[in-house]
Symmetry: C2
Amino acid sequence: VSTEHERIARIHELLARPSQHVLLGIGDDCAALAPSALPQIATVDAAIEGVHFSRAFMREDEIGYRALMAAASDVAAMGGTARAALCALALPAALDEAAFEGLLRGLAEAADALGFPIIGGNLARASEISLTTTILGECPGRTIARQGARPGDALYVTGSVGGAALGLAALRADSSRPPRFAPAVARFLRPRARLELAAELARCASAAIDVSDGLAQDLAHLCRASGVSARLELARVPRLPEFEPLARELGLDGEQLLLSGGEDYELLFSARPEDVPSGFATQIGAIETGAGVRVLGPDGGLRTGSAGFDHFR
Amino acid sequence: VSTEHERIARIHELLARPSQHVLLGIGDDCAALAPSALPQIATVDAAIEGVHFSRAFMREDEIGYRALMAAASDVAAMGGTARAALCALALPAALDEAAFEGLLRGLAEAADALGFPIIGGNLARASEISLTTTILGECPGRTIARQGARPGDALYVTGSVGGAALGLAALRADSSRPPRFAPAVARFLRPRARLELAAELARCASAAIDVSDGLAQDLAHLCRASGVSARLELARVPRLPEFEPLARELGLDGEQLLLSGGEDYELLFSARPEDVPSGFATQIGAIETGAGVRVLGPDGGLRTGSAGFDHFR
């Protein structure tokens, strides 16, 4: 195992990238970015071994990749642009070089895919692996918050949901990654923060949140912040092909997985239908007066609430 | 133990502060700050149970306070102004309410003392407590990096060093905190990030770093970044009253403690002597050509190198 200094040198080699916006990158007390005339946004997200990931069925580069993507997703949900990341790594002393470099490669791959540099961070010893990622960004358009949904708005989600939770369940059941689960496993292991949709989101959405805790719970967050209720129509919720049979194969209820499966990192938002470009997102319900989330099944019947992930329940 | 949602509500109650610079604070996907015409700086620092702190001899509010101060110190070392913090908390599921709120009160106390708000963060479950703090700031004057020290500059440190390490050793030896160790214990438990010195630092320093890993090691970092060497004169290094006898009482070598004791969060910097205001800092040596750090004892004899803290050694 190499020293802290040698590890920091390796971090510099693997993560540093030239950027015209960066005045000072990895290696100083702080990183520095060029001034900007736009509102500055920032978010932090932790990926912790045994809670957010397991080395039993994930490679280290996949762990690093997901950690950065999950953090960047919060910037997309604000309608923002990501400018840079800071990565705080807490690592067991016994973690070997290959695992350490795998984490770094995954972080770098995600940042490269999203087009911004990692400009700093922290390295410390801990009993379990954790990656705590700060994303710095800005809002070139309107800043879209969770608050702002109004009765009469329609409710939308980008892409599809539930796939990451299905993929995680598949990995847990069989780490050999059978091909029929490949699309779901890819949704879990290779999520893509929806930064490419952020500018359009800023034009059309009245409120937004990313789907990280699960559709039902994240919708409840949005409703609470906006002081509204929502009607969610399960039949309309976009999902992967063969979603229900694959869920059944793992002994899971497809409906519950759609509602409570988190970590898809899609964008859930409210908007006036006339403001949403065709094909940008799928309408899955509506914003109404009152409080809470009403889930309607394919038969139109009311489903009882489905909770998402709670760290302390 | 309360749910994640209840804990987040409590975080909001204890940490949220009004601020004219904050467009969006705790509770959304990202926090947002008003635009600024200045270079933006950011840093992240982790405080991890069993590595950076122990609940055996520290209260939770002391743990929270130190975590934020340690992170803010990096902003001071750049000559910067802190604007806001993000606090990522990783907590064991069994952590009780009182301990949880103690951490929050300590974080809030430190931020209040430094005059900036905590505007966001993250809450997750983990097997050990860790607090990962991001500080967002800006540089109203020059941005002072580790790089920039030139042969002929003098070497300075603010305040005194070694006290935090002495205080930590005293706490470990006797958690009842005997009064004669109170000044040292306060240096460890109640450090103060030197943000009030940052503007003057930006006017006078050619390079700077905060003393977090230990005087010798942090000086080595500064020398390496600047491509210079340094001469450090031990007799000149400012320390607490009765430092040596108190160190001896704990079975420690005072000289080694001065050199390798970290977490004082004072500012170590190089400058031309004529640029440094009287009383601002203590001259403790000089910058020279070459590489490495030469430590001279009170007798003028050369001391062998003293390493600071290395997470992976």
